[in-house]
């Protein structure tokens, strides 16, 4: 496989192809007829997906830095360049994006009946935007793509959405725009005030910032990404957007767009502002928000009458695990956060697809309108149960690996947060099982539900790979973990390396400890603690 | 002679402005705008004696733009008149938020 890729000079063109092929597809869709639009869009997104698969072999986890880098000056006078690259963190986000885009387009065949050309064109535009976000290594370019994703999503929700689609679309747009504008200010500050001098990733990494500056800039970035994630008090746009969005919109929103936030945490927030990221208050705030998100969202999810809103809230809970995993600042935590991101993308994406199938058949999303579907549609029920179990993190599914690692990593440095967050495991069952029961089990007493058709062949084709991935990643996540590890480790080293110098200077938490103590310590660094505990006895 | 010419230009300009504000007939408003343009032209010409020939060139450009504007503006007025049967600017306010 590697030889084949080398003979195709894969590494020279793949990143550019990934970004621009969906746009070519969009043009193709625009000039085609509405009837052919869906097939064309699926074909193009499938091509992109197949091409992205090569990254599995084409990406070599080396030192953890960017691979397949390329850079062309774009706006030279500002130091902006068209710079792309992929590392262990983004490679799986890219593959997740290409995968879910193709699946979402396939899943929208029956759902979208009006303005089909525009819809599929926007879906492909969205794919370009998201891939650009994950692949850009120039901050300016990143920002352009980050904002670009807003536009198609706004229209997808606003045109093909439900009854309150305008409210939801505007809320979604404004919420995210507010955050990203603050981030723009922060970026410009780093460019002008921080002495970055160019918009390159390395230049920003080396920006010279005092702890005070870091804290402010951190806040601006964290707000932008925190809204995207969404972190607890900033989450209310998500349920509205999810409920109103058409199925494929929800799928992309949950599977990919939310990940841009946590990806931003890992890619930009931690390495750019290591001092702030290690500041005890900041860490405490982020952990508390993450933990509150996990539990609060689970509670709220449990009482939702609307199945789609329920799943939307579960997204908040899941992303809470990512947030605590990231801000625990341990390898296991960050790795776990990454796996939760991937797992949530697949399982929640699948849940939204399943809910979409329910809606297509019954034109309602209220849980109470269903019941006993297990008898009428066994295949559907099987897929639903497996997906729900993956979502609540049953061992053997992808959800468990992520949540386990995230909690484990959090426990290493912040045991209390992990203990509270672990109760989220119970609450996950508390919101998911009643829904499963009220939809699939109980009496099949509604005559409408008796006629509920089982999965069609197309729907099986959509769900089968997702179910396979959920179980596959749950059973053997190591190939993914080992590909991510160097890059995650690099992020961690940057935080800890810079934090050590800053920490001693600003009399931070590591006051009194030998310089470099934090930096040297791997996950095993906490081990002396129990030894002391034993000593106490 | 520069100052009197500029003062004259200012006078013509404010009269034109007054016309734009107080008249409702779209055509007369247009005429007043032309008046303002002429006032500016006058200032350009007067100043060109002291700064160089470019002042006159600007006048040339302004005239061209004025001609184009008059053509399009009058076409719009005709088009609006067909619809509303009036050129009273108070009568067409559909663009009001």
């Amino acid at each position: 496989m590697t030889d084949l890729l080398a003979s195709l000079r894969y590494e020279d063109w793949i990143l550019h192809a990934l970004i621009w092929l969906p746009l070519v597809g969009m043009a193709h869709v625009v000039v085609s007829s509405p009837e052919r639009a869906k097939n064309l869009a699926f074909a193009w997104s499938s091509i992109v997906f197949v091409l992205s698969l090569g990254l599995w072999w084409g990406y070599e986890p080396g030192g953890g830095g960017f691979m397949l880098e390329s850079s062309t000056p774009w706006i030279e006078s500002w130091g902006v360049s068209y710079a792309l690259g992929v590392d262990g963190i983004s490679v799986f986000m890219v593959m997740l994006t290409t995968f879910t885009s193709a699946i979402a387009i396939l899943g929208s065949f029956e759902y979208v009946k009006t303005r089909r050309k525009a819809f599929y064109a926007l879906m492909l535009l969205l794919e370009t935007g998201v891939l650009g976000v994950f692949l850009a290594t120039d901050i300016f370019l990143f920002y352009v793509f980050f904002e670009l994703t807003l536009v198609p999503m706004y229209f997808i929700v606003g045109i093909w959405g439900g009854e309150r689609r305008i409210y939801a679309a505007v809320k979604f747009f404004l919420y995210t725009a507010v955050g990203s504008l603050l981030m723009l200010v922060a970026i410009l500050y780093m460019y002008f005030g921080g002495g970055a001098g160019s918009f390159g990733y390395e230049a920003f990494l080396n920006a010279d910032l005092s702890l005070r500056e870091q804290l402010w800039l951190f806040a601006a970035f964290a707000l932008a990404f925190g809204i995207k994630v969404p972190v607890f008090p900033l989450h209310t746009w998500l349920p509205d957007a999810h409920v109103e969005a058409p199925t494929p919109g929800s799928v992309i929103l949950a599977a990919v767009l939310l990940k841009m936030g946590t990806y931003g945490f890992m890619r930009f927030l931690l390495p750019f502002f290591p001092g702030a990221a290690q500041h005890p208050t900041v860490v405490a705030v982020m952990l508390v928000l993450g933990v509150v998100g996990i539990i609060y969202a689970a509670w709220v999810a449990a009482v939702q009458p609307d199945a789609k809103k329920l799943v939307a809230y579960t997204s908040v809970a899941h992303m809470g695990f990512v947030v605590i995993g990231i801000f625990a600042l341990t390898l296991n935590g960050l790795q776990g956060g990454m796996v939760v991101m991937i797992s949530h993308g697949i399982s929640t994406g699948a849940l939204f697809l399943l809910l979409g199938m329910m809606y297509e058949r019954r034109h309602t999303r209220l849980i109470e309108d269903f019941g006993g579907l297990g008898r009428a549609a066994p295949l559907f029920a099987t897929a639903f149960v497996i997906t729900a179990l993956a979502s609540i993190g049953l061992p053997g599914t992808s959800g468990f690996v992520g949540e386990f690692l995230a909690l484990l990593g959090t426990f290493e440095t912040h045991a209390v947060a992990a203990i509270v967050a672990a109760t989220g495991v119970v609450f996950a069952a508390y919101y998911m099982l009643p829904m499963v029961q009220r939809v699939l089990f109980n009496r099949l007493d509604n005559p409408e539900n008796r006629k509920f058709p089982d999965l069609s062949r197309r729907e099986v084709v959509i769900l089968a790979p997702m179910v396979a991935l959920m179980i596959g990643i749950g059973v053997h996540p190591t190939p993914i973990l080992e590909r991510m590890e160097p890059s995650v480790q690099l992020v961690l080293e940057r935080v800890e390396g810079a934090g050590a110098t800053l920490g001693t200077a600003s009399a931070g938490p590591s006051d009194g400890g030998p310089p470099g103590y934090v930096g040297d310590a791997g996950p095993g660094a906490q081990v002396p603690v129990p030894a002391t505990a034993a000593r106490e006895d | 002679m520069l100052t009197p010419a500029l003062l004259l230009s200012a006078a013509l300009f404010v009269i034109g402005t007054l016309g734009v504000i107080v008249r409702r007939n779209a055509i007369i408003i247009f005429l007043c705008i032309e008046l303002q343009l002429n006032a500016v032209n006058l200032a350009f010409v007067a100043l060109s004696r002291y700064t160089g020939i470019e002042g006159q060139l600007y006048v040339f450009f302004v005239m061209t733009v004025a001609a184009a504007e008059a053509a399009v503006g009058l076409a719009i007025i005709i088009s609006i008149f067909r619809h509303y049967e009036t050129v009273n600017v108070n009568k067409f306010n559909v663009l009001k938020w």
């Binding site: - | 002679m1 034109g16 007054l18 107080v22 007939n25 032309e34 010409v45 009058l74």
Partner: protein, 179 residues
């Protein structure tokens, strides 16, 4: 002599301008406007801008004003004078604001900013006069127009073309383009 002519033209121009604003019918306003334009052309001559003066008369007073006249006659306007001019507090307020503007402008123009300008005014004027003698009144404009300002000139041409097309499209009755 030039001073007397200037005063004459100025009086006619201001009178015409006032006439435009207060003219009862559009046609009257238009004719006042022509008077103003003509006297401004006269002032151009006083400033040795012969070519512009000619164009002012030919294009402005001639072509554009005739275009206005055609439109006025085409639309058969001129009967709603009372509804046309705004009276009362509105016009008072307008007068105040406009008067203030005038005052500010006068103040600005009559200040001492022009001192440096006036100093080298003689040399510039002499240079222009020399150029006029050398190239002729048209040539002195045409020379920079086709060299330094040729791009702007071309853009003007384009603008006029666009304006023509736009005018035709806008003025054409709806639905007239079909069939």
């Amino acid at each position: 002599m030039t001073d007397i002519l200037f005063i004459l033209f100025a009086v006619v121009a201001v009178g015409g301008a006032v006439g435009v604003v207060v003219g009862r019918s559009p046609v009257a306003s238009l004719l006042f406007m022509v008077a103003t334009l003509a006297s401004v052309a006269g002032i151009y001559v006083l400033f040795e801008a012969h070519f512009l003066a000619a164009i002012q008369v030919l294009v402005y007073a001639g072509a554009i004003m005739v275009l206005f006249l055609f439109v006025i006659m085409l639309l058969n306007l001129g009967h709603d004078y009372r509804a046309d001019l705004r009276y009362g507090s509105w016009s008072l307020l307008s007068l105040v604001v406009v008067g203030l503007t005038a005052g500010v402008l006068m103040q600005g123009f009559s200040g001492d900013t022009g001192a440096a300008l006036l100093e080298n005014g003689a040399t510039v004027a002499a240079a222009i006069d020399a150029a006029v003698i050398e190239k002729g009144a048209v040539g002195v404009i045409a020379d920079p127009l086709f060299t330094d300002y040729v791009v702007a000139f071309e853009l003007m041409g384009l603008l006029l073309l666009v304006a023509i097309v736009a005018a035709v499209v806008l003025a054409k009755p709806r639905g007239a383009g079909e069939g």
